[in-house]
Symmetry: C2
């Protein structure tokens, strides 16, 4: 996490995210490294001053090199240290590679398949953000460029853990918040499978959170939501949903494997594995009624 400031350009350049017309976050940048428009969205990679390289889809911050470890730690290690023996892992979206990178740090995982709809994201990251895309060369990594909605409807594979690393429910990611998709996710999970999904902002998107929990509640017997603190998402606080056919995220924590692996983390750890399920009271009131088996 060493971001040394080089000589600044004389003209100040900023990349700006306008959030619902009521707030904006801006990051000072040195230059634009990539700017394209795919079939699905605009894709930009910029080099910032103070936050490393930044990926934006449709003008929304997807990741910065400075804080991507937080999101990627929390989407992956929590379910992988809940499931007792995750071998076959599916990442949906996550075209930058950061989620797959963390999945493949677990020595017991045999294959991590990433299904990304937008090849432009993959290629832009491959070229400009090796910090996350280095995983594309990993021998256990399998890339599928496809619509994940179609993929989960058609695959004959069974996965132990599925990670839905999606953007907001607008544009290409919209179906990833609906019941048809999650019926198929349920079907291609093993009998003790777990799915963790990007769960939006507790401050600004409580309605989307409720709606996603309602959908998941139609299929899964264990259902909850956990928080993490991102640096570059609007409002900082962000969440993942946790839905499982069998395992409880806290009671089934795999302490022995966690200690044996002894991985080095920057955000996730044993304490946070449990603590992240302690939610602020406004969230308990709003979302608590949708939780199951926690």
């Amino acid at each position: 996490m060493d971001f040394k400031e080089k000589e600044l350009p004389t003209q100040e350049l900023w990349v700006e995210e306008n959030f619902k017309g009521i707030s904006k976050q801006s990051y000072r940048i040195k230059e634009t490294l990539f700017s394209g428009k795919s079939e699905f969205q605009t894709v930009d990679v910029v080099d910032s001053i103070g936050h490393g390289k930044i990926l934006l889809n449709d003008g929304l911050m997807m990741l910065s090199e400075r804080d991507e470890f937080i999101y990627h730690d929390m989407i992956s290690h929590l379910p992988l240290y809940t499931h007792p023996n995750p071998k076959n892992v599916l990442v949906i979206g996550g075209g930058d590679g950061g989620t797959a990178r963390e999945v493949l740090r677990h020595p017991g995982v045999d294959v991590c398949t990433m299904v990304e709809i937008d090849e432009m994201v993959v290629e832009a990251c491959r070229k400009h953000i090796p910090q996350t895309s280095e995983v594309f060369k990993h021998p256990k990594f399998k890339l599928v460029i496809d619509d994940a909605v179609k993929f989960v409807a058609q695959t004959q594979e069974k996965f132990d853990v599925i990670l839905v690393d999606s953007t907001d429910p607008i544009g290409p990611a919209q179906p990833l918040f609906g019941p048809e998709f999650y019926q198929n996710v349920y079907n291609c999970l093993t009998d003790d499978g777990i799915v963790v999904s990007q769960g939006e902002s507790p401050f600004y998107q409580a309605e989307t959170q409720k709606s996603l929990l309602k959908v998941l509640g139609q299929f899964f017997s264990v259902l909850g939501l956990y928080n993490f603190s991102n640096l570059t998402y609007p409002g900082g606080l962000w969440s993942f949903t946790f839905a499982s056919k069998k395992y409880h995220p806290v009671r089934d924590f795999q302490n022995e494997r966690y200690e044996k692996d002894s991985l080095t983390f920057n955000y996730y750890n044993k304490g946070l594995h449990k603590a992240c399920f302690s939610l602020p009271e406004f969230m308990n009131r709003n979302l608590g009624p949708f939780f199951k088996g926690l």
Copy 2:
């Protein structure tokens, strides 16, 4: 995707906080309600679209009506439900009144004294932000307009809990981060007293956090730091230090009184009282060596 050079809003009005020249947060506003320059700092109150009224000192966000409950819950209820019988509470800074408001929801507290250096903050909030300043009328509330550094050096009173609700260590708040001030804070605490202090951003101000912990460690036998997620501070994640002569913040949680009081909170609760001490791994590595008795 907009890559804007520095430009001023034309029709829309925004208030903007520039953070160290590398990031900015902006909030859309309807109008400026108050704008003044005191002996110590500039003081502005604006009415926003989406975040209620906002107080800024020297252009830095102090609070928004939308999220002030988070900071004020977490600075006050955590120490007040750790100390078994807090009667006399001192708030240093906190001129908006929000911290004192939460302190005085505890039925056992006899007096809450607030020592604020800048009368302009108090008067601006009294007039424009009743949501926090309503407490100024409370019969157990005592206002002292004075330099807290002088106050803690001179007072003969003893306090059970002291809450240092300060701005960043620049301008008037700078001495509130030093050893002379904390020697006096220690002296005017009872033998089982607790002090909680605004602990800055884990992402951006780790050095200030270390330096504050080092200072506190000279005096207190129990020392730690806990996190909360603010909406309107840069990076979201923020912290308080916890320093105590006797009580452990988790082991001495006052469950019985907590249940009996049955206060309604929007952020704080029993689960978070403990969970907020579970820190991300990068913080454990940086700050863990400074903790005591946790």
